[in-house]
């Protein structure tokens, strides 16, 4: 296990208690209660139905596709699916909220308690409770930068389905919060219920932060709203935890409030206190009947789910002999896992994993590309791994070949052929080189035989150098030992 995260204050060590509310935009063709398109980036107010604009007399009709996406997500989080759930109105006024209320789920959400496994860096896992998941409408967007005095409103997003996924306060470090978001994102992307694109805002997180001395009861929490990157989540929690510790150590107390993270200054600041908190006057939406699901349909959706990251990870460990850490990296994205499986098929799975994780990911990272844009395909990288496996090239040469492959997209075999990089495994040829090296270094041969064992490496190096790296290192070793020791 990793060391527990602790913050050193003036009065001793503090721990942080974190809970996350993630808003994930549902992948669906149409909005939660209307037929409007949900495509991101369309011209302002071109994807707005009469319902989305809250014209008089318009009524919401639930979109089955969105409901099924929520059920899939609930099942992937091993959560209770509530066969009866209720849509409520959350009442508040804002210019980008046309109805004057958001249709959400308050007392009876569609999904109840579930669980999510964090993959910790040391290869262990930590179980984090899911409190609930509910469906709700997104609001439109207020555009404050279009006019010096006025605010413009874009309703394209108004009514798009969101899943609000609430964790239990089971997270205890900024890293864990980040891992939680990443893991949740990974699951949502696996099952295709949210694209997880935090930059476009299709996934946003509110983070509840409180601090306490280890063993003490829970402290008063503050909620940091609308975080749209893992990096900011880290920064915001670190800042907020320190802020609270300073207040508490100074004899003050924490006001329960909503705060915003100022990404420019790296600090959180108060948005509204509990006293100013709005009374949302939740009540069941009389335009909608309770949502009733059929267990058979829920079961069918469960049966259609793809292999999820945790199961895949376990399989990679069991079938491919990977370390939990490597397996966790490979299963994070479904595409990566598929890529890896294609690469590993019929090959040494561990060597394949190493090449993918250390070499290809490294090169892609440097080039600012992701796997889907890789100039080296799984088949192509497999070709390289094969050449190593059958002794055609050494691992060292392979790195050189890989660099060339990444640069040009050529096949490994062609590069080896063109550049004459084939490993020399001919005993006679290697013996000739060794003989020459020994002859040139007769004094060192003497010293070696006199007991200076460390010189063995020198002879290996000289031999490899003379062969321009192409000599089979294993054979060089064996032959040198025969000649020197024999």
């Amino acid at each position: 296990m990793t060391e527990p995260y602790r913050i050193q204050g003036e009065t001793g060590e503090w721990e942080v208690v974190l809970g996350l509310e993630v808003h994930a935009q549902v992948i669906s063709h149409a909005k939660l209660f209307s037929g409007s398109s949900t495509t991101f980036g369309a011209e302002a107010n071109t994807q707005v139905s009469l319902v989305d604009a809250a014209m008089p007399g318009m009524l919401p009709v639930i979109n089955r596709e969105c409901v099924e996406q929520a059920v899939r997500t609930g099942l992937a989080l091993k959560a209770q699916i509530n066969l009866r759930s209720v849509f409520d109105r959350k009442n508040y006024f804002y210019a980008d909220l046309p109805q004057g209320y958001q249709i959400s789920q308050y007392k009876d959400p569609i999904v109840g308690e579930g669980v999510l496994l964090l993959d910790l860096p040391d290869g262990s896992t930590k179980s984090v409770g899911i409190e609930r998941l509910h469906l709700e409408q997104d609001a439109g967007k207020s555009l404050h930068d279009q006019h010096p005095q006025k605010t413009y409103v874009d309703l394209n997003r108004s009514g798009v389905a969101l899943m609000e996924i609430v964790s239990k306060p089971d997270l205890s470090s900024p890293e864990e919060a980040g891992l939680y978001v990443k893991k949740l994102r990974s699951i949502l992307r696996y099952i295709g219920t949210c694209d997880g694109n935090m930059q476009e805002g299709s996934m946003r997180a509110d983070v509840n932060v409180s601090v306490r001395k280890p063993g003490d009861p829970l402290g008063t929490r503050c909620e940091i709203k609308n975080m749209n990157s893992v990096r900011f989540i880290h920064q915001a929690i670190e800042y907020e935890a320190r802020r609270q510790i300073e207040i508490l150590e100074g004899g003050g107390k924490i006001d329960q409030e909503t705060r915003l993270f100022d990404t420019g200054r790296g600090e959180t600041r108060s948005m509204r206190s509990k006293e100013d908190a709005q009374d949302y006057r939740y009540f069941p939406d009389p335009d909608l009947l309770p949502l009733v699901l059929d267990q058979a349909r829920v079961d069918a959706l469960g049966a259609e789910l793809p292999e999820l990251p945790d199961v895949k990870k376990a399989r990679f460990i069991a079938d491919f002999g990977l370390s939990p850490y490597d397996a966790a990296i490979l299963v994070e994205e479904r595409e990566t896992a598929d890529w890896y499986e294609q690469l590993a098929k019929g090959r040494d799975a561990k060597i394949a994993a190493n090449w993918l994780i250390s070499e290809l990911f490294g090169a892609l990272n440097k080039a600012g590309k992701d796997l889907s844009e890789s100039p080296v395909s799984a088949e192509s990288l497999g070709g390289l791994v094969d050449l190593i496996g059958d002794g055609t090239i050494s691992g060292r040469i392979a790195k050189e070949v890989f660099a060339e492959m990444f640069e040009t997209g050529k096949a490994a075999g062609d590069i080896v052929e063109e550049k004459g990089l084939k490993q020399v495994s001919d005993t006679g040829a290697i013996e000739g080189i060794i003989d020459a090296v020994l002859a040139e270094n007769a004094d060192k041969v003497e010293q070696y035989r006199g007991g200076k064992d460390k010189l063995f490496g020198f002879f290996v190096g000289q031999t490899m150098k003379k062969s321009q790296g192409k000599a089979n290192p294993g054979m060089v070793n064996d032959l040198l030992r025969q000649k020197l020791d024999g």
Binding site: L59, R89, D287
Partner: protein, 493 residues
């Protein structure tokens, strides 16, 4: 006044089908009558050009023998229904200039059946009222005058007061209304016409400006039970655009109409005999009982024990839903906007100027009962009582087929009366509200005149989705009552 105006909808249908008259002639007569009776203020918007255009098209279809169920019938539409290209106001200043780019499902059904739009009728603002005095466009005058105070204008009831007055004054052959707590039945009673609220879910609410979503139902207002049945048959129907729309098929109301009441069990609830109710209301109710008995029905004394809580329950649930439904009128996208220095100020300015006193009162009451700390004591408790009221009716309907009550606790009062105290005004709904809360179908049929010569209606309530029995009993009452009285202004043309 043209004789054509005295035709019932059923008669007009037959005459049009026989090509004895054209829809254009009929429509022209109604247009002339709308102009002649403009002082009643029954219409907020008249659409004579559109009416003639529609009538012409109806005549073309009639000529080809392709007429729909209401082909060529000139109707008035309560100005709560959104009508494409025609100003729709809900009688509120806040919807200033609002011309919907869409047509409500109910009116679409009517036009598809060949009906002709005469105009949009006045109502209490956002349908909140029982006298049609809360309209931004001014009160509607009831065509009836009392014999004791012939110079005082009287209310037509509300909220569908314009529709009721238009049908009674012969400035529409029939009209649509909406009923949330009695807004079809009570004005029908005050105006001497038939008004029917079907089972909640029968008529799509899509495109009707919402007041209280769990209660709002559209229905017909007409001169006879048969006319109301013909119209409702067209208005109703499952609509996938309304999640609360009912899938149950509507019975054939015309077939049910004249089946008589022989063998039916009619419940008479003890709790509807309320303190302080005028003796003549009790009298007309007893008369109704006798008529049905004479027609062969069995009268059963029943109890609906939670009736006394109905009004209070209604005045929690309806304002609660309204406070949320009316949040969309914020000056941002359509209707009135009164600018301010901030968003909050713009909201406050717009809503203060746009909503009348009664609407503001209900928004405040509704906001209050939904607030943290009050929700359980008011809204939640009201929902529990609502369930008990439903149970009362369910139990009663185990033994009876329909229930007979007065429609309203009085005849039409004068404009300006009952305005000192909102609760006094709310008492008008005392007999209509329970069925609204239970979602039951109900009809008001004119049963006689009060001592001062004003109409009084009787209400028939039926089981959920049993509109068949409702029109059956309603028709029996109508036949027995033989209510032929008309307002002086109609008699004198």
């Amino acid at each position: 006044m043209s004789d054509l105006l005295n035709l019932t909808l059923a008669e007009a249908r037959a005459t049009l089908a026989a090509k004895d008259i054209s829809s254009t002639e009929l429509t022209q007569a109604y247009i002339a009558r709308m102009e002649a009776t403009a002082d009643l203020n029954a219409y907020i918007t008249t659409t004579p050009d559109k009416a003639l255009q529609m009538a012409e098209q109806a005549d073309a279809r009639l000529a080809k023998g392709e007429g729909g169920a209401l082909e060529g019938i000139p109707l008035a539409i309560k100005d709560l229904f959104c009508t494409e290209g025609v100003l729709t106001t809900a009688a509120s200043h806040i919807l200033d200039g609002f011309i919907p780019p869409y047509e409500s499902t109910v009116t679409t059904n009517l036009w598809n059946a060949g009906a002709v739009l005469l105009g949009k009728t006045n109502l209490d603002e956002f349908a909140m009222g029982s006298s049609n005095v809360t309209s931004y466009y001014g009160p509607v005058e009831n065509p009836w005058r009392s014999t004791d105070e012939p110079d005082r204008k009287r209310v037509p009831g509300g909220s569908s007061g314009g529709s009721a007055a238009a049908v009674a004054a012969r400035s529409a052959l029939a009209a649509t209304g909406t009923d949330t707590g009695g807004s079809i039945r009570q004005p029908a009673s005050f105006s001497g016409i038939v008004g029917m609220k079907p089972t909640y879910g029968r008529c799509s609410r899509w495109g009707i400006v919402a007041f209280a979503s769990s209660l709002d139902q559209a229905g017909p207002m007409a001169r006879t039970v048969e006319d109301a049945a013909l119209m409702l048959q067209v208005m109703a129907g499952y609509d996938p655009k309304d999640s609360t729309s009912a899938a149950e098929a509507m019975p054939d109301l015309s077939a049910a109409l004249n089946q008589g009441v022989k063998g039916l069990k009619i419940g008479v609830p003890a709790e509807y005999q309320v303190d302080g109710m005028p003796e003549e209301i009790t009298k007309v109710w007893r008369q109704g009982i006798d008529w049905l008995k004479a027609e062969g029905a069995e009268i059963v004394d029943i109890s609906l024990p939670h009736t006394k809580y109905a009004l209070a329950t209604y005045y929690i649930i309806a304002p609660a839903e309204a406070s949320s439904n009316l949040a969309r009128y914020d000056g941002v996208r359509y209707g009135l906007r009164v600018d301010g220095d901030s968003l909050a100020e713009m909201y406050a300015n717009t809503r203060a100027a746009g909503f009348g006193e009664e609407v503001q009162r209900r928004v405040l009451v509704g906001t209050y009962v939904l607030s943290a700390g009050y929700y359980d004591a008011y809204y939640l408790k009201a929902q529990k009582v609502r369930a008990l009221l439903r149970r009362d009716f369910d139990q009663a309907f185990e033994t009876v087929d329909a229930i007979l009550t007065p429609t309203a606790p009085s005849d039409a009062f004068a404009i300006g009366d009952n305005e000192d105290d909102p609760v006094k005004m709310y008492l008008n709904d005392i007999f209509t509200v329970p069925a609204s809360l239970a979602g039951l179908p109900g009809i008001s049929v004119p049963a006689g005149l009060s001592e001062r010569g004003l109409p009084m209606g009787l209400q028939v309530l039926g089981r959920m989705f049993d509109e068949g029995s409702v029109v059956r009993v309603g028709r029996a009452l109508e036949r027995a009552a033989d209510f032929t009285a008309v307002p002086t202004m109609v008699r004198e043309g």
